[in-house]
Symmetry: C2
Subunit: 97 residues, 2 copies
């Protein structure tokens, strides 16, 4: 009966392994920030329980952790968009050097 009252949580081993690394948790935080920013509320309502995470980093924390420059973009775009923009810019400038 204990087993029925306390069933094992639905295991997603692959995700759990990812979440055990800082970078994996950061990805979850980036997605949560993106969904929040664009009011993708239905997706977020499913994502939160399915990702087994309930404590998400704020955009400011993410920008700090990923050293995203606090340009105007950070106020007006999710951290993931800023990250991709900086990455694309960096890649372009490599070619331009």
């Amino acid at each position: 009966q204990d087993q029925l009252q306390n069933p094992a949580p639905l295991a997603n081993k692959k995700l759990q392994n990812c979440l055990s690394e800082v970078e994996g948790q950061t990805c979850i935080d980036l997605i949560h920030d993106f969904l929040n920013f664009f009011n993708l509320d239905y997706t977020r309502e499913v994502f939160v329980p399915e990702s087994s995470t309930n404590n998400f980093k704020s955009r400011a924390q993410l920008c700090h952790q990923l050293s995203i420059k606090e340009t105007g973009d950070v106020q007006t775009a999710p951290a993931l968009v800023s990250l991709v923009k900086e990455r694309t810019k960096d890649t372009l400038s490599e070619f331009q050097v």
Copy 2:
């Protein structure tokens, strides 16, 4: 009656503006690749219609576009995880210089 038969699509102007830029679409592709990789199927089922996107880039296309080095990681992790790992590594090496 035309209005009833052809209602305006639910508009998410903020997201639509984002998707009009390459980087915005790339974020959507990165999230889709992440959800796919970790079998976050319920989230994906909601994300696809809510993001108004139905043509997602493959991981190989994403890695090419973002110049993610095709290390072993690319085979065993979503593009977003590789991107965050490279970013963290780059940031660390800046401090170590």
